[in-house]
Subunit: 279 residues, 4 copies
Amino acid sequence: MSNVHIRPLRLLIQCPDQKGIVYEVTKFIAENGGNIIDSQQHSVDGNFFMRLEIDIASDELAAKFETIAAKFKMDFSFNSHKKNMAIMVSKHDHCLNDILLKHKYGEIDVNIPVIISNHSDAEEIAALYGIDFQHCPIIDKNKVAQEKQVLELLKPLNIDFIVMARYMQILSGAFIDQYPHRIINVHHSFLPSFKGANPYQQAYDKGVKIIGATAHYATEDLDMGPIIAQDVSPVNFKDSAQDYVAKGRDIEELVFSRAIKAHADDKIIVYGNKTIVFN
Amino acid sequence: MSNVHIRPLRLLIQCPDQKGIVYEVTKFIAENGGNIIDSQQHSVDGNFFMRLEIDIASDELAAKFETIAAKFKMDFSFNSHKKNMAIMVSKHDHCLNDILLKHKYGEIDVNIPVIISNHSDAEEIAALYGIDFQHCPIIDKNKVAQEKQVLELLKPLNIDFIVMARYMQILSGAFIDQYPHRIINVHHSFLPSFKGANPYQQAYDKGVKIIGATAHYATEDLDMGPIIAQDVSPVNFKDSAQDYVAKGRDIEELVFSRAIKAHADDKIIVYGNKTIVFN
Amino acid sequence: MSNVHIRPLRLLIQCPDQKGIVYEVTKFIAENGGNIIDSQQHSVDGNFFMRLEIDIASDELAAKFETIAAKFKMDFSFNSHKKNMAIMVSKHDHCLNDILLKHKYGEIDVNIPVIISNHSDAEEIAALYGIDFQHCPIIDKNKVAQEKQVLELLKPLNIDFIVMARYMQILSGAFIDQYPHRIINVHHSFLPSFKGANPYQQAYDKGVKIIGATAHYATEDLDMGPIIAQDVSPVNFKDSAQDYVAKGRDIEELVFSRAIKAHADDKIIVYGNKTIVFN
Amino acid sequence: MSNVHIRPLRLLIQCPDQKGIVYEVTKFIAENGGNIIDSQQHSVDGNFFMRLEIDIASDELAAKFETIAAKFKMDFSFNSHKKNMAIMVSKHDHCLNDILLKHKYGEIDVNIPVIISNHSDAEEIAALYGIDFQHCPIIDKNKVAQEKQVLELLKPLNIDFIVMARYMQILSGAFIDQYPHRIINVHHSFLPSFKGANPYQQAYDKGVKIIGATAHYATEDLDMGPIIAQDVSPVNFKDSAQDYVAKGRDIEELVFSRAIKAHADDKIIVYGNKTIVFN
């Protein structure tokens, strides 16, 4: 992986809050020839979270870091390669389009080895951007078989994370367990309001004055995973439920791409059912 | 009522959608010497809603309007006087302060004959703005007695509507029935999320990335009445639940004053559990 | 024009404010068998503005309306057909993509007979959406010749309005005069701040905390035409000028599509150098 | 100053970007018994900026820091005491009210020894909050004499910074020089648009669709000082210039209090004519 040394090394740390962590970590980095380009930290409820960007010529840091990690009981990860992101999509292609365009413009720093869909609609747009498209239909309502097929497709591609660009199927727990906190979904409501089906109609019926969208990590508990990004749009009495859907598409694109960028840039730490999203 | 002829007459109409309503209403107004200054209408789900501002020298319009109203099965109201608004407040005085200031600046077009509180904290601020303050404590947890006292206070004041500027008591159904769709409450969350107590803590625990506030008409069903105004503010991982409360105060002020202005200016029509809020 | 009777007739009126306009207009419509579906009006500085949506089986209304229009000295327009919209674009294709997608979803109610570009980059995306693409390069810096070519291309297509989806050339006054208040441009700043070239860099250098984008009618005075829609996005110290550009693309899409929808739906009245954009 | 050891020490650093800064600074803090509670940094255009919150029992750190500061050519400041903030105000009292309320709620962590005004209007509100009020009228248009009087009032109060809560006088360069980058002004427009007088009318005349407010450090160049905070509000064709003023008041309060909190919490570094505002 030739890009290891070009891009900065990113170190994410989570551990019980203790005195001296920052010093010991920065000392370790200095002693190993690294230069800290960016550093953010946060302490809350006795927990300590840290993200570092390090300019360093060697990639042997991770192994050496075990000692310090053990001392502070750290969960940590070193990240230096460009991630491989798989896209899953059904028929609604606005989030897909938005991601592919942002990827083309260099805004989303990932490789996209494959787009997978239970429908064939996205084939042309995938071709336009030169990305492999795989049609994995659900045959005879056999979702288990289809998920198995998808997983086998993904395996040789070294997929780091999956994004559900309006993939209208509920993934099984077994599938999600293969990519824990590495599947990003976008739900077309301001969660925790309006979980499940038809959230815009729910919002319309309730008479809210603002609608929203939420990007979150998929968990087995539908629409309940850790929230990564949310945004909203005002609606008024002239808007029909159909107008909510149209306005919603814009918000879905915004929160979805923000969440993907944050994940791609190693800016997210999950703790409990919440996320720290560094700036 | 000397102010009848100074301010425009406002006519609010709600009826089944039918052909010819706009023409018959505008014809009626023209034939009675009125000039339409502003007109807004909306049709949805077979219902017709209309708001008119009419410049007219006489106030006999309402009586004459019965014929046309009967023909179209209209619910309607004519409004020409400055409304009398009672404020109820507990200890949190930020919404109270904001309303009194906006009232002083001429932004909220009402008379404020009284501020009522179950605590005495707001007495000084009431005095500063020259408004009568009535302390109605809840003694021995006897809320029934206190509500009765409040209602008796309000009766001779010809109160048109009541605003709960963070009044931390749940009003009984019997109280609310005296002012149907004429009591405005502000709830410190983006309803329907986080009903009930401690919504900011609920939001914090859930890990949402945006918090909100909601102004709505009080109904017997707690925090479930027709929504009038909502707004939001982003939060991030650096914000504590206490920071949510602080940010929330600003949003509460914004939605509360917007809802009050809309009600004071006869811009709201309630239908079902929803509102039309004209521009 | 077979679609005349399917879609509602839209009537836009601008005239000096006078008594009785609303009545006479609604009377005229009723007497000619029309039913008013939606009506909005506004008076400001002695001017009266009105927009009506009328359900009517005949399209002879316009001719008959002359009498009433003359009486009130009205500028007016009747609109009943789906407009023909030409798109001009250079290399940045995000606004183009967004419009084509929204058009596909039925959000933008126009025909798109042609996409014209001074570069060939957009040819594939045009093909994906099945829209005719015309490459009109500027040869030997001869912009006059190129504009002439474009105008000749547009003429037989009965183009109602043109949208500049990041068309990076300044149109001549002669060109603009062919489509007065019918060319929509998107400028990547919160006008009137940061006119001209490189607005994001200007914003970055100035240290603003919010960036914006503006959709406006093109006039001979660069970036000074009547503003139709604006929106903004917060930026912070971590954002580079390049990040401004990326965030800006999202805002450009939002304001551009809003302006196009408003124009397509006959919701805009221009007066002086300002616009009324009905809801 | 008994509060030195209760509140964390805040260290702000600005210097040319070099290798090893973070390590040397954190090492220095650790060796002197400090614990880093929060750390943020930023590098841009060859400059390095850092903010640290340090839990430490001694306040001798500043003197010892000189060596490291000299090595890296640092501008730095240690801040541990609650700042003394003077408020200047004219007749518009909405920003004043908002600050005093937020101060009462504990949101703004400062002492307020004095409120100074060229008018007497704010005397009652100052009394309500128990803050000394000084009336310093401008007599015979002699602004020099009045500014001298104000400066003499401020001197014995050890004022750390001044906030102009809609103080409608332009301060002289001589006055501003006494408090460089320590006077916060709020301008009622989205700067750099609409500098100078009557910005809401300017915005109305230009036909913008969004209005804004800006909090910035006062400099001799009117409305051109480093921007600290900005926010906006949409306006529409129904809003008069007077409505802009009313909507503007809410935005002014928001940006003004945000800027004050950031300054009070030592979260701002000024460089050139721009600010870094840490989170």
